[in-house]
């Protein structure tokens, strides 16, 4: 099925779109991580996606590239939705921050940093948002030990 949105993105960034798929109106474009911010800028200014609804990540541990950053966009003007994904390798888990384009990305990126340990270049205040200071590691990584506990105060017995 042809998709206007995906065709637009593919035409604009033929080198950067790795893959697209569309299932029952659920449209996804997988882009190179170097181009993520550029594509996101085009989504906002060229296609009218004014809301960044969610920004999260996936850890596909045995596979390479290990991480996948997932961004969900919504256009209030057109009632369109679109998902952008970009693969992030384990040896340099770093992506350009979207905070300059949508300031709402600030806390979402902090959460992804906290839970998965992905770095966001250009983020104004990249520190943990859910876990406490002194917490070591990133708990939603697949190699975080399942039973590991990091208490802030000593437990009784």
């Amino acid at each position: 099925m042809n998709s206007y949105l995906l065709d637009e993105i593919k035409t604009k960034f033929p080198q950067d779109v790795l893959e697209t798929h569309s299932f029952r109106g659920d449209e996804t474009a997988v882009v190179r991580r170097e181009a993520l911010a550029e594509v996101a800028q085009f989504l906002r200014d060229g296609l009218g996606f004014d809301i960044l609804m969610d920004l999260t990540a996936v850890d596909n541990l045995p596979r390479e590239p290990r991480y996948e950053l997932v961004c969900h966009f919504y256009s209030t003007g057109h009632n369109y939705r679109l998902r952008l994904k970009c693969p992030v390798p384990a040896d340099n888990p770093s992506v350009k921050s979207l905070t300059g384009i949508w300031s709402g990305a600030n806390w979402l990126e902090r959460e992804v940093y906290d839970m998965f340990g992905l770095n966001f270049e250009g983020h104004p205040d990249l520190r943990r948002i859910l876990m406490y200071d002194g917490f070591e590691g990133h708990p939603l990584r697949k190699d975080y030990p399942l039973k590991k506990r990091q208490p802030r105060i000593a437990h009784r017995d």
Binding site: Y132, Y144, R149, Q150, P151, R152, I153, H155, R156
Partner: protein, 161 residues
């Protein structure tokens, strides 16, 4: 009741423990430490249908320094554990703790990096009320169990824990 007219101006003798415990167990001032969905169920215990005031425990104090019973209602995570400990430490003796719901009791189904596996890892607990969340009847039963426990204590042997 008419009992006072029967006794008139006379005296009653009793053991000190009996008198003190009778007063204590029917006038619990609670501190509700509500963190999660169990709080909704806790509110219904308070409301007129179940009416916890029948047991003299309806009065919430939102300062731990004025409270007798700490109700820990909901999931407590590692981030919150020092706060719970501090609230408990601020309460004056005598004090009791009720663990409300499975999350407070043992972590419930949250067996993960964030959740304390039962508040008894942080503070001593007197009564555990199971359920996810517990029915109001279960809470009232737990309250009665706490009253029984209090009535067996002595003013002499309770020491700082």
């Amino acid at each position: 009741m008419g009992l006072e007219t029967l006794f008139g101006q006379s005296y009653l003798t009793t053991r000190l423990d009996e008198a003190v415990n009778w007063a204590r167990k029917y006038s619990f001032f609670q501190y509700p430490f509500v963190t999660a969905c169990c709080g909704m169920e806790f509110m219904s215990v308070w409301a007129s249908t179940y009416d916890i005031a029948r047991f003299g425990a309806e009065y919430p104090r939102f300062s731990p320094r004025q409270a007798d019973v700490l109700f820990v209602v909901g999931t407590v995570n590692e981030k919150l554990a020092p706060v719970l400990k501090r609230v408990y430490d601020q309460m004056c003796e005598p004090k009791w703790v009720v663990s409300f719901g499975v999350c407070a009791t043992c972590g419930g189904f949250y067996d993960n990096y964030a959740t304390v596996q039962g508040i008894d890892k942080i503070i001593p607990v007197d009564i555990y009320i199971p359920g996810c969340p517990p029915r109001p009847e279960a809470v009232l039963d737990g309250l009665l169990k706490l009253q029984q426990k209090v009535s067996k204590e002595s003013v002499l042997d309770r020491k700082y824990r």
